[in-house]
Symmetry: C2
Subunit: 277 residues, 2 copies
């Protein structure tokens, strides 16, 4: 199963962290010039800015605000820290609403040495505590299952099945999943779980990049699409067969690409989007 090539940029969204050499204003201007259609704003890019004005600026440039990235990190050893995390997530939801982002992406968190079962419980409780606010502002929350190599301190939700389980437990139309090929590509259960995700109307976001061989850094050695081994068109075919037709968000953390001029990187993103995504 393989998807047809993408032939235009109407579904191309870029994360501000991908082009981290640019502040928000420059990113917006350059994305617009390049024909990129959407932007996912990382919270650092809102620092010192009014989210509502940032949103206006983005829309004025003709770009769609796809997501705010990221909330999460609910688990902690003590109650006080968990409460702080909930407050921080409420701020993220308020910022998303002001920015006009329909969605907050959640990197759910984990505490080294705390059991993953306990961390998942704290994640579920943390999300539940922010749901009334999310509801009142109409902001969706997307759990991003992370690759198992981040189970120590970044997320206790390490498979699409596990993310679906938490969604089932919360059972709320605003709670869904951010589906990132980097975290999920290896999973033998991916096809069945993709179907489960889509059938529950919770495939909220789709992130693309690639897996490098060798990977020299656990965080910042992602590949641009086509540089690695992920069957990108196979996975896209799988989500599209299940009805997904949303934005394709390029989220590449790469010291190698970040060392190059950002405009060169954006050109490479566009090319790899057409050739390999």
């Amino acid at each position: 199963m393989t998807a047809d090539p993408l032939t235009d940029f109407s579904r191309l969204c870029v994360h501000t962290i991908t082009t981290k050499g640019w502040e928000l204003e420059e990113a917006v201007e350059r994305y617009d010039e390049a024909g990129v259609s959407g932007i996912t704003v990382w919270r650092q890019w809102l620092e010192g800015r009014e989210p509502s004005k940032a949103g206006d600026r983005i829309r004025a440039a003709g770009l769609k605000v796809v997501s705010l990235c990221r909330g999460g990190f609910y688990p902690a050893l003590v109650e006080k820290d968990r409460e702080e995390a909930i407050q921080d997530n409420k701020r993220a939801i308020e910022d998303a609403a002001a920015l006009g982002a329909p969605l907050v992406v959640l990197v759910c968190g984990a505490v080294p040495g705390q059991s993953l079962v306990e961390s998942r419980k704290q994640i579920t409780d943390g999300i539940a505590a922010t749901l009334p606010l999310a509801e009142s502002l109409g902001v969706k929350l997307a759990i991003e299952p992370l690759h198992p190599m981040y189970a120590d301190d970044r997320s206790a939700i390490n498979s699409l099945a596990s993310a679906n389980d938490v969604c089932d437990e919360l059972n709320h139309p605003l709670v869904g999943i951010a589906y990132d090929v980097y975290h999920l590509w290896w999973d033998p259960d991916l096809e069945a779980q993709t179907k489960r995700t889509a059938q529950a109307d919770r495939l909220f976001a789709y992130h693309a990049c690639d897996w490098m061989t060798p990977t020299t850094d656990l965080l910042n050695d992602r590949g641009l699409m086509g540089e690695g081994c992920i069957d990108l068109r196979g996975i896209r075919a799988m989500v599209e067969k299940n009805g997904f037709d949303g934005m394709i968000e390029v989220e590449v953390f790469s010291n190698r690409w970040w060392d190059k001029p950002t405009s060169e990187f954006l050109q490479a993103i566009k090319q790899s989007y057409l050739d390999h995504t």
Copy 2:
């Protein structure tokens, strides 16, 4: 659920690669002096040696030969390379028999860009092709499911469920699983799959180490037991509850530890075995 501390070294086995500063002869002598009970020999340690004589020497020192490490790497893009891998695995089985190792550990292999489904088929076929020889020599074959971060080029079998599936397909009493906490600790399905493994009488080997936060190298930054976040006594309790009472094999790839004197490392292994394993 947590296991009682280990109070002696009767189940302690060390992999020769853990103490890679020592050649086989020195490792045998030092393990014996230290009261280590078993040794898992990596194939490089047999280079230039007669396996049968190496086995005699190990047994003369009172050590048990636990495994030969490692066969596997079956998948390849072309038939000729897959055939070569099968021949190499046959040599490993012959060497294990000559050494007196009851078991060959299999790091099953993967090819970047080839689908994991196809790689798993090639792995299954590859193991099947060596089974008549393994049978005639009475050598067991233990599939080691590897952490999903090795799904690109080291193994297409990335969970205990997946290893059990391949075992079910081969359905042979000599085919089982090498259970390594480093690869499996994050899995939400671990308890059920551990039970499935044990009930099928295929929990052939148990490897211990720890997961470092942060992990700075995908291959050679494992922790000594207690240095990281793995719930070692919880997992040991889980396998023991299911009847496992075999050797506990310390397999630590660590540039950090390898930079220290090997005798200091072995002392630390013994201490962490008592204190944290």
